[in-house]
């Protein structure tokens, strides 16, 4: 083997091992940082994790939004028409948050069954429905149809 070929071989081996390690670490990081999505029905069925962050999506129930008098605390119900979960949040809401709007909340379930949100996401279009929420609504609809 000529010295140049040997150098090339060594370089290739080093690069491949390095890249493989980087990708493995990335995959591990990925596993720890993905957020699963659950609908209120799935939460009520106990499918959602009790001590990990996840995303909860649905429609904000009309007349369910209650604000505290002196703080930024807010409480509202989120539904996929089959089940409803109460969400508690502190802070600014996105511009398009509103009753009847489809939103996604990110946070954790607490022991009393309410959902403590760290972040509320609503998209910038009044006709927009997050695809996850739309999907959850569809599912809930078909479920009702089979199980009246």
């Amino acid at each position: 083997m000529t010295p140049r070929r040997r150098q090339r071989l060594i370089l290739t081996v080093i690069l491949f091992t390095g890249t493989a390690i980087a990708i493995t670490l990335a995959l591990l990081a990925l596993r720890e940082n993905i957020n699963l999505f659950f609908s209120p029905t799935e939460v009520k069925n106990g499918d959602a994790p009790s001590n990990a962050n996840f995303r909860l999506g649905g429609m904000v129930v009309a007349n369910s939004v209650h604000r505290a008098d002196n703080e930024l605390d807010i409480r509202f119900d989120l539904t996929d028409t089959a089940a409803t979960v109460t969400v508690i949040y502190t802070g600014l809401l996105p511009d398009l948050f509103g009753e009847g709007q489809g939103i996604v909340a990110q946070g954790q379930l607490s022991t009393d069954g309410t959902f403590r949100a760290e972040q509320i996401l609503a998209k910038h279009d009044e006709t927009y429905m997050p695809p996850e929420v739309e999907n959850a609504l569809e599912k809930a609809k078909t479920m009702k149809f089979h199980d009246p």
């Binding site: 010295p3 140049r4 150098q7 370089l11 690069l15 390095g18 890249t19 980087a22 990708i23 670490l25 990335a26 995959l27 990081a29 990925l30 720890e32 940082n33 993905i34 957020n35 699963l36 999505f37 995303r55 604000r67 008098d69 002196n70 703080e71 930024l72 502190t90 802070g91 600014l92 809401l93 511009d95 398009l96 998209k123 910038h124 279009d125 009044e126 997050p130 695809p131 996850e132 999907n135």
Partner: protein
């Protein structure tokens, strides 16, 4: 009538692009010089007709022609003039037309400025650009016609998406697109080089110039996008790892690798096959970016519409371009020979390391961006990958990049000695460590070690870059040798210093930014950091196409007023959508940033988000410096040297 002229012009442009993509190539094969001559003419003709199409759409916007569906969707009678002009690229169809216009412009510019490139090469380059044009014109005409009519025409249009009604947006997408599309030129050069079996110094020089120009525009485009998000989204952040941001960042990373690899290919004739592969990757990622953003498969502020036909079309186009070029690569690349060796400690190795880090970074971002889509399409559940993942993979890969940028630039080609490097780097190391660690003691509320280390890293990048410049001046006559230095050296120094400024910006922003959501009562004062925010209430105001609630917040420091912020909450009545316009007091070392939430009760209480953003301007200043450095490198006179004869047709 005007919109029909637009459609007609697009059809003519399609025919010309088809000619440009086929006949001259056939001409070189069978020896018809007349056909070869068609390449440039059809490129100019294509630009002319695409310009007509673009002009027709702009005209329809200016004259409120709501019988054109796209115009009705993206403008209305109350829309100010500047947004009727920029509204042309406010939606999917128009932005594709802009893409097309930029592609034809690049093609024309390449055929004007490549008079020193061999005819063999130029004809193939133009043919490949012509074929890409064919793909995009077909996409425009068959799945995304911006001139589609509707009857009866509505009396008023919908409105331009309020997010896009900002001066920053008037320039952000065109710059980004010039960058994206610009990488089609080094791609075309790569394919032409493969076809000709000619990957040599002349080839690398031209590819490098075009890749650098594209890179400069992409850098400015991404920076403006970040600045726009900061100004317009009201979240106070500058980067969100949104899929669309990633879509522009991935080609940037691989494009950065490409211009560095091209430097090695040009100067030393090494990494030839790898450089070609990078050119293919960069353009593929640009196309993927277009696909991700425009197909609507991503839930994102940028996704305009969901239409499966478009998605299928772009996906197959993407498959043809990537698959075809990789096949060609597999076939031809084994014949490309890099003939020169190099030592283990040499600039070649440094550039290789730079390339590996950049490409791996892009790969991990690609993984995080596509992973949810792959899981979803396999029916394995809906997930999202958030900023924690991207930060976790990006930061460890970015630190060695910043560490090595300046070091690579002072390492010698072919062979260097470790002792020489160490003795050169000793002084910069001591300076940056001392200043960097001391920095957070001054002008901050508390000492942060991460800011100190980040400051050290940033200063290191700057000091090593400046030292490289200093060492190149001759001892006898510093001033004259400084002035006669090639532009590419200044460019490199500026760009590498830009990395340093960017790193300092990130380190200090993440260490010292304070964010608070407050409930504000009129007349009351609120403390955030050292600043007192006095809320004076909110008043109503009417804009041209929106209603606005505009707040008044005076900011005091040590009882001295430092800023009067006017955050706004706008309501665009036609679209029924609210918009947050933050009030910002910008500064070199800090931004004061407030955004209105909503009115909480009848006493005028509002929810307000208050930010103290430390050093955030540095995050945009750094990349701008990088882009400026790139620009200076491109102006280097070596790109204007006499034509190098390089018509070798080695099989």
């Amino acid at each position: 009538m005007i919109p029909e002229i637009g459609v007609f012009a697009l059809v003519v442009a399609l025919c010309l692009a088809a000619i440009q993509g086929t006949l001259p190539l056939a001409g070189t094969a069978v020896g018809y010089t007349n056909w070869v001559g068609l390449a440039k003419t059809s490129a100019y003709g294509q630009l002319f007709f695409v310009l007509i199409a673009y002009g027709s759409l702009t005209w329809s916007f200016l004259t409120y022609d709501f019988s054109v569906l796209y115009v009705a969707q993206n403008s209305n009678l109350a829309l100010p003039l500047i947004y009727r002009i920029s509204g042309v690229w406010g939606g999917h169809e128009g932005s594709l037309l802009l893409w097309m216009l930029i592609l034809s412009s690049w093609t024309a510019v390449v055929s004007i400025f490549s008079y020193k490139v061999s005819n063999q090469m130029l004809v193939k380059v133009l043919a490949i650009l012509g074929l890409i044009s064919v793909g995009f014109l077909l996409l425009l005409l068959f799945t995304s016609n911006p001139f589609e009519r509707q009857f009866p025409a509505p009396s008023d249009g919908h409105d331009l998406n309020p997010l896009l009604q900002d001066p920053g947006l008037a320039i952000h997408p065109p710059l980004l697109y010039i960058g994206y599309v610009g990488f089609s030129v080094p791609f075309a050069f790569a394919i032409a080089g493969l076809l000709n079996g000619q990957i040599d110094t002349a080839w690398a020089r031209w590819s490098r110039m075009w890749a650098s120009v594209a890179w400069v525009f992409l850098t400015i485009g991404i920076t403006l996008g970040s600045w726009w998000a900061y100004n317009e989204l009201g979240w106070g952040g500058w980067w969100f790892w949104d899929p669309v941001e990633n879509a522009s960042f991935m080609p940037w990373l691989v494009g950065t690798a490409l211009i560095h690899s091209l430097a090695a290919t040009e100067k030393r004739g090494v990494f030839k096959a790898w450089t070609v592969l990078l050119a293919i990757f960069t353009f593929s990622l640009s196309l993927l970016g277009t696909f991700l953003v425009r197909s609507g498969i991503l839930t994102s502020v940028h996704a305009f519409a969901t239409d499966p036909a478009r998605g299928v079309f772009i996906l197959s186009f993407l498959g043809i371009v990537i698959g075809g070029s990789l096949l060609l690569y597999a076939w031809k690349a084994p014949r490309i020979r890099s003939s020169i060796g190099f030592d283990w400690l040499s600039r070649e190795i440094a550039l290789l390391l730079n390339n590996v880090l950049l490409v791996v970074t892009a790969a991990t971002i690609l993984l995080g961006t596509l992973y949810p889509l792959i899981l979803d399409s396999l029916g394995l559940g809906k997930i999202s990958v958030g900023p924690p993942y991207f930060n976790a993979v990006f930061i460890p890969l970015a630190i060695p990049l910043a560490l090595l940028a300046g070091v690579g630039a002072i390492t010698r080609w072919k062979q260097d000695r470790l002792l020489r490097l160490v003795s050169e780097l000793r002084t910069p190391f001591c300076i940056s460590l001392a200043l960097g660690l001391a920095w957070p003691f001054f002008g901050t509320s508390h000492y942060s070690l991460s800011a100190g280390l980040g400051g050290t890293l940033g200063l290191w990048a700057i000091v090593v870059a400046l030292q490289g410049l200093w060492k190149r001046t001759s001892r006898k006559d510093r001033w004259r040798s400084f002035l006669s230095m090639p532009g590419s050296i200044f460019g490199q120094t500026l760009a590498h210093s830009g990395i340093g400024i960017f790193v300092i910006g990130i380190a200090f922003t993440s260490a010292y930014t304070i964010q608070k959501d407050l409930r504000m009562v009129p007349g009351e004062e609120y403390y955030v950091g050292d600043y007192a925010y006095k809320f004076e209430g909110v008043e109503h105001r009417e804009g041209p196409n929106y209603r606005s609630e505009i707040g008044s917040i005076k900011v005091f420091r040590n009882s001295v007023q430092v800023a009067h912020l006017r955050p706004e909450k706008r309501f665009y009545s036609r679209q029924g959508s609210p918009m947050t316009e933050p009030g910002i007091d910008a500064g070199v070392f800090r931004d004061l940033y407030v955004a209105l939430g909503e009115q909480l009760n009848d006493d005028g209480n509002w929810s307000v988000r208050v930010h103290y953003n430390a050093f955030i301007r540095w995050i945009w200043l750094g990349p701008l410096l990088m882009a400026f450095g790139g620009l200076i490198s491109v102006l280097d006179p070596r790109y204007r040297r006499p034509r190098i004869r390089a018509n070798s047709l080695t099989p």
